[in-house]
Symmetry: C2
Subunit: 222 residues, 2 copies
Amino acid sequence: MAINTFERARSVSAKQEREEAILGSAAELALRHGIRNVTLTDIATGVGMHKSTMLRYFETREEIFLRLATRGWIEWSAAVTVQLDGIEVGEGIGCTPQEAAAILASTLIAQPLFCELLAHIPLNLERGVSLPVVKEFKLIAIDAAARVATGLRGLLPLDSVQAGNVVATATAMTGALWQMAAPGTALRSLYDSDPELAHARIDVEPRLANILEGLLAGYCGR
Amino acid sequence: MAINTFERARSVSAKQEREEAILGSAAELALRHGIRNVTLTDIATGVGMHKSTMLRYFETREEIFLRLATRGWIEWSAAVTVQLDGIEVGEGIGCTPQEAAAILASTLIAQPLFCELLAHIPLNLERGVSLPVVKEFKLIAIDAAARVATGLRGLLPLDSVQAGNVVATATAMTGALWQMAAPGTALRSLYDSDPELAHARIDVEPRLANILEGLLAGYCGR
DNA sequence: ACTGGTAGTGCAACGGTGTTGCACTACCAG
DNA sequence: CTGGTAGTGCAACACCGTTGCACTACCAGT
């Protein structure tokens, strides 16, 4: 991953390789220290290039993380539809709200970087990025969300608005809960140590699954 | 609201008055331009004092907005419990998930500044603030949320975990939806103008009410 | 009534951020 | 061999939140 400073990327493949290295460095740092605390200099030194050089690959800091968010949506959409389709084939008749909720929750938690990104997308990433870039992201995210919604409708009696709301709730709640309970932060240790706050502690996955199960059960009418 | 520069605040009441002016200026600017775009200099010039002077009233920029968030929680909690209690007295036997959801959604939308703040709380405001300050906020917010949950349990057959999840969902989803659909932003105009994105447009209140209604119905078992 | 101390204030500077202009230089094409 | 180009690093910029410093209007004690 260490790139020689004087070895310039001329070919298209070399540029893609370098772009990939930037995204990898940003992902690793964001996962370890939180997006808020990752600076351009950090990412750049992780790759071995100067930050100004890095901004020839991405027009802005936010675009780097928005690109990671794009991949997060694609990967999550793929992972969840695979699991939903697996159920559909195996059982043949659908599944319970509980099963669907568990799949949504577990596949989200399996992508901690995506969880970290989710809350930042509407708040920070989509702003401070040119309109074409945000539009490209939006189209991909909307498409990915629609695929998940379609997968849900194959198993449970949901209309399209309800399925869309389930996906929106799953992602938005994941982002919010993750930020409240992200491990390793000062806030988390406050929860763990202070007896006045201990009873309000949050465990992301079971809480998320519980909410989604309730929502799905309500939408399915039972 | 214009404070003479050379008129110093000596008495306790004068200090409180000035503190109030700072919060008022921050609230107005945050509501108009979004928290992200409000700087300390903006708030300070709105009050008529220097930004460095302002930081003797609040230890940090984030604390200003966290104080506004504290009030938001208190006011919302009061507004929603008043409405819930009103139903309880009038009907005597509880209400439908639809009615409760409508109350939660409408009272939240009625406080646009709180909506704007909600997404920022776990992401930005609770960090970059000293631990005592964040603990004080947490205790108030937890208490306010508990009061809303109790109000819900007086009308609908929910256990305490479910009621807490409903409140958490209501606030977190409001914050997320608000950031996606905040009017007046470049992103919003993109949604409105671009035909490729028009079908994905978001209307916060009906969407929020629909989600909460589904969740409540699911939790109530019908 | 005067005066020393204090507390509230504004200014300027600091460190750090994301971003941009500029000069360099390694390569490729002729 | 050489001129042009394109990728790079450095340094500067503008701006942010924050902090140190000097000033001065007031209050308290003699």
